[in-house]
């Protein structure tokens, strides 16, 4: 097994592929089930998360088909309530929160640092099994009494009025929470302690800044969720009055506890997405990212501010006027760093050399959808307009633009971007692009009409509606079907590449971060020698090489100081 270290000015081409890589380095079920290799754990996460996404997507389809017409179509209201609850819970807890950090981050983060693995490989494997146990509890929920509380488990409905499997589901979420904490802890320590020589904090790739901010939130906010759910379980099983007024508790207390976690959780979902998009936009513009420091600092400031805004979910749940005033003000401050990021990405495109490859299409899609999601968030941060829009489809559309248009599109962009590195295969660029455009069109058609019906009064979580909202619901369902077609084509494209795809070069896109310096797919130990870190956005460091159909270190390039 050989790997050529990459001297900056060597005319010798680096090794592109290896016979022995992390995928075929050992065989058998146990070599995967007991692996400590961050790349294998990442791939196992990817498989699990993709299945969860498929399951959540089926629920979404059922919701949209049911709402195609007023009146009940093929399920009753109780079934509908279970379906929308499971859609939300599966998508949030099993897919979006672990999506980018645990699946993509696990594979990429140590590679970006030129490290052999994360700081605590066993903790990493433990986090995966906690995720699996949490998922198993959800499956148990599905096959026992289901769940109909909404993904938020609001009390006292969840503790005293539903006869569905709240305890199984909350126990599952509790485990998923610890899985998330372990991943965050691992990444935090890895980024602090395992950076390669030369990688100062200001040479950290922006993906790592994003993961760093995410890790802070995972570590500090998730325990609150764990405690809250334990209290909820105690109330349900032991009858201790905490949240149910009939037992002497206070239901609004639950909302405070829940959103103290779940608002940071929104940023646990979106920060990694922003991090992925920063990498993709720079790579496919072949240009240094614009305003590196502002993007990096905005990630950390979003992470810190996210702890102070939970009350904006409760403007109409009997919160005092003073509290609403404070929470509204802080909420606006968090809009600024998000806006700065969008402007920086835009400026990165300026005078770039923009290639519209599949990952870039997803990143541009993200920019547009996140912009709409962010701008419509203003209506919800403004106190007077939030009062009428709260708990309507306007909110549903807003957070789908941020979470699906934002996080999902960034996840898919990142998946296509690092797919050659993870699997060693190139996918069909044509069908990848068609899938991206189809998904983008379908998404907008599915969710834009929801803004209109929401501002006109249609409440969320309704199994049925009056005929005046029919047009919007029909457009939305049609869009969902188109989105589904796009995602199916995407799955086909990626799966086919595993069997028929071309071998991927070490650096197919011309990125300058370290993970592209090892062969595709990387060997078990990633790098023979710790690589030397330079400016991660010095794109001229690599140049196109016709023979390997990829980028190789440029001859005679001298890094420019910025």
């Amino acid at each position: 097994m050989t790997q050529v270290d990459i001297p900056v000015e060597s005319p010798v081409r680096p090794v592109q592929h290896l016979d022995k890589n992390f995928i075929n380095h050992s065989k058998g079920f146990l070599s995967w089930a007991l692996t400590l290799d961050h790349k294998r754990i990442g791939l196992m996460y990817l498989a699990g998360i993709s299945l969860s996404f498929f399951l959540g997507g089926l629920f979404a389809l059922a919701i949209r088909l049911e709402l195609f017409s007023p009146g009940m179509q093929f399920m009753d209201a109780e079934t509908y309530n279970q379906v929308f609850t499971l859609h939300g819970a599966v998508m949030v807890f099993l897919f979006i929160i672990p999506g980018i950090p645990a699946a993509l981050g696990n594979v990429v983060l140590p590679l970006m640092l030129g490290a052999k693995d994360v700081a605590f490989p066993r903790l990493n494997l433990c986090s995966y099994y906690l995720w699996l146990s949490g998922a198993a509890f959800f499956i148990w929920t599905l096959f026992s009494n289901g769940l109909d509380t909404g993904w938020t488990f609001y009390t006292p409905y969840s503790t005293s009025y539903t006869d569905t499997s709240v305890i199984q589901a909350t126990a599952g979420v509790f485990m998923l929470g610890f899985s998330s904490i372990f991943t965050g802890l691992n990444f935090l320590v890895t980024i602090h302690k395992m950076r390669p020589p030369g990688m100062t904090w200001h040479k950290l790739p922006l993906f790592l800044w994003g993961m760093y901010g995410t890790a802070i939130m995972q570590l500090l906010a998730t325990p609150v969720l764990g405690i809250t759910l334990l209290l909820l379980i105690m109330e349900t099983t032991l009858g201790i009055g905490i949240f149910d007024p009939q037992k002497g508790g206070d239901p609004v207390l639950y909302q405070h506890f829940f959103w103290f976690y779940s608002h940071p959780a929104v940023y646990i979902m979106i920060l990694p997405a922003m991090a992925v998009v920063s990498e993709i936009i720079a790579a496919f513009s072949r240009k240094h990212i614009f305003g590196y420091r502002m993007i990096a600092y905005s990630s950390v400031s979003i992470a810190l501010l996210s702890f102070l805004v939970w009350g904006h979910h409760m403007f109409v749940s009997s919160e005092s006027t003073l509290a609403t005033l404070i929470f509204s003000a802080i909420t606006f401050t968090i809009a600024i760093p998000s806006a700065i990021k969008v402007f920086n990405w835009l400026a990165t495109l300026y005078k770039g050399s923009v290639a519209l490859d599949t990952p870039m299409l997803y990143a541009l899609g993200f920019m547009w959808l996140f912009t709409i999601g962010g701008l419509t968030g203003l209506f919800l941060a403004v106190l007077s307009t939030d009062v009428v829009l709260h708990d309507t489809y306007f909110v549903v559309a807003h957070f789908h633009y941020v979470m699906v248009g934002g996080t999902l599109f960034a996840f898919l962009g990142g998946l296509h971007y690092w797919w050659p590195k993870m699997t060693g295969k190139m996918y069909s660029e044509t069908s990848g692009r068609i899938a991206a455009v189809t998904a983008f069109i379908g998404f907008n058609l599915a969710f834009f009409p929801q803004f209109i019906m929401g501002s006109r009064g249609m409440p969320r979580r309704y199994a049925d509606y009056t005929a005046d909202f029919e047009l919007y619901h029909r457009l939305s369902t049609t869009g969902t079907l188109i989105l589904g077609v796009g995602l199916a084509l995407l799955a086909y494209t990626l799966l086919r590449s595993l069997f028929g795809g071309k071998k991927a070069p070490a650096n197919p896109w011309g990125s300058a971060t370290i993970e592209w310096e090892c062969p595709s797919p990387p060997p078990h130990h990633n790098f023979d020698h710790p690589p030397l870190a330079t400016d991660p956005y010095d794109m001229e460091r690599v140049e196109w090489d016709e023979e390997v159909q990829g980028y190789v270190p440029a001859v005679g390039h001298r890094p420019t100081a910025h």
């Binding site: 409905y157 495109l349 300026y350 920019m367 912009t371 403004v382 307009t385 708990d391 794109m539």
Partner: protein, 475 residues
């Protein structure tokens, strides 16, 4: 589609059977009058409704399909065929003869009950939140929605000055949205086209940051959001601060309905009237889970919580009819938890209030028969969302055939369904939680009506359940 038709027919059957029963026993002399007249004061339409004809319904095909499915070879009389033509399933024809299935009429608010050959016209009880509108292409919900037919592209009709202030704020933010979306989207497309990758053309690596530009695009949004914050806060204070002379209406939310109480003690479930151009302050609480009082026409909303009082206020403005939604998820019938707000001239409002306060009394000032009170209570108080009267199992046990039945409780004890059993079930439901046919407990689902239901209404419910003795039940 068949399932849907079945559900609608069942629903109609409920309304029809209850109305028919009350009619039969309580007021045999007035067979033509609407039996379940809404307490809100809706009267029967002037022109008598006739049996509906669904235009694209092929009666022969429906009968053929029914015969093929049930393996029978049944023929139907001309009258029965006209019922099928109105949307009644062939399998329900026998029940329709008994008066348990209602026949849709040309007026969506009126159904026809044929009870042993005697035809009754029943005005839907719109105040109960579920008028049986049964055109097959529309929903079964409230027939009124005037506010959403007007208004702008984005918003429903604004019914008060405060609502218009909120709309101005909304429009201001929307313009900022348009401008920023146009700038960001436009530049994105422009850059992607103008700087697309071309052979031999390299990106300009000299642009990595520009501090004055970055400070500019941080400060401009900061100023804009500061304006938005302040504007939003000022209008929010208006939404939160009722004028001192406002009229108070109490609202109690329960699963799944609303009960409104006026200062003079009058109560009205599912519907409330207010005089025009009057500030109204709602003081609200819940008897069970969280609910939320959402009045989009006035751009106002507040969660309704157990053990707490929350307030919203609005200036009623011009006469109109508006929808109140529940916007905090509260379980099975969350999406049916509507109430109706009627804004009307003061004289009409006062007449309504008097009539509503006296809903248990007939025109001659006499107390209505207990059975009629019971049937009205059943429809007004939300009993019917959980307890069927056609024998089917709901969230709670059916009332059909309940009288005199031995009930098994989840603590192992049992009782016979008599007056005391029903009384205790209403006032203290969790002391005797009954098991269903499968031996599974119904659980603590029932709203505790103890302070809300006066003794006449409990007696009425008892009479109502008595009247359903012997109706076959399926649980």
């Amino acid at each position: 589609m068949k399932l849907q038709a079945f559900l609608l027919t069942t629903l109609l059957g409920l309304a029809g059977a209850s109305a028919g029963l009350a009619q039969d026993d309580a007021a045999p002399a007035a067979a033509d009058a609407p039996a379940a007249e809404a307490p809100a004061g809706e009267s029967a339409p002037a022109a008598p409704a006739t049996i509906r004809v669904v235009e694209d319904l092929d009666v022969d095909a429906v009968i053929a399909a029914f015969n093929a499915e049930s393996g029978t070879d049944r023929t139907f009389t001309a009258e029965e065929r006209s019922w099928i033509g109105a949307g009644v399933a062939p399998g329900d024809i026998d029940a329709a003869h008994q008066g348990y299935v209602a026949i849709p009429s040309t007026d969506p608010n009126v159904v026809i009950i044929n009870r042993n050959g005697e035809e009754l016209r029943v005005t839907s009880n719109a105040s109960a939140g579920r008028a049986p509108v049964i055109t097959h292409e529309s929903s079964h919900m409230m027939p009124f929605a005037p506010e959403v037919d007007n208004g702008t592209f984005w918003m429903a009709k604004a019914a008060s000055e405060t609502a218009k202030d909120v709309d101005r704020m909304f429009d201001f933010i929307m313009w900022i949205n348009y401008i920023f979306a146009a700038i960001i989207g436009g530049l994105m497309v422009l850059f992607c086209v103008k700087y697309r990758r071309r052979p031999g053309v390299r990106a300009d690596q000299s642009i990595t940051h520009n501090t004055p530009l970055e400070i500019t695009w941080s400060i401009i949004p900061t100023i804009l959001v500061a304006i938005m914050f302040w504007g939003g806060y000022v209008t929010f204070l208006d939404l939160r601060t009722p004028p001192p002379d406002s009229m108070k209406v109490n609202a109690t939310a329960y699963r799944w309905g609303w009960n409104f109480q006026y200062p003079n003690g009058v109560e009205s479930p599912q519907e409330f009237h207010v005089p025009e151009n009057t500030p109204i302050e709602m003081v609200m609480t819940s008897t069970d889970t969280l609910h939320s009082f959402h009045l989009p026409a006035y751009r106002t909303k507040s969660d309704v919580l157990p053990n707490r009082y929350t307030k919203v206020w609005f200036n009623s403005g011009e006469p109109g009819v508006y929808r109140v939604y529940c916007t905090e998820y509260c379980g099975k019938d969350h999406s049916n938890m509507y109430a109706k707000l009627v804004v009307e001239p003061r004289e009409d409002y006062e007449a309504w209030l008097t009539k509503t306060g006296n809903w248990m009394v007939d025109e001659n000032g006499e107390m209505k028969p207990l059975l009629e009170i019971g049937e009205l209570t059943y429809n007004r108080r939300g009993c019917k969302s959980c307890h069927s009267i056609d024998g089917s199992m709901g969230t709670g046990p059916t009332f059909a055939g309940l009288w005199g039945l031995k009930r098994d409780f989840d603590d192992g004890s049992s009782a016979v369904a008599d007056e005391q059993y029903i009384n205790q079930s209403i006032r203290d439901p969790y002391s005797q939680v009954v098991l269903n046919a499968n031996g599974v407990s119904y659980g603590k689902q029932m709203t505790i009506y103890s302070p809300m239901l006066p003794v006449e209404q409990i007696n009425g419910i008892i009479e109502f359940i008595k009247s359903l003795e012997g109706v076959p039940r399926k649980d």
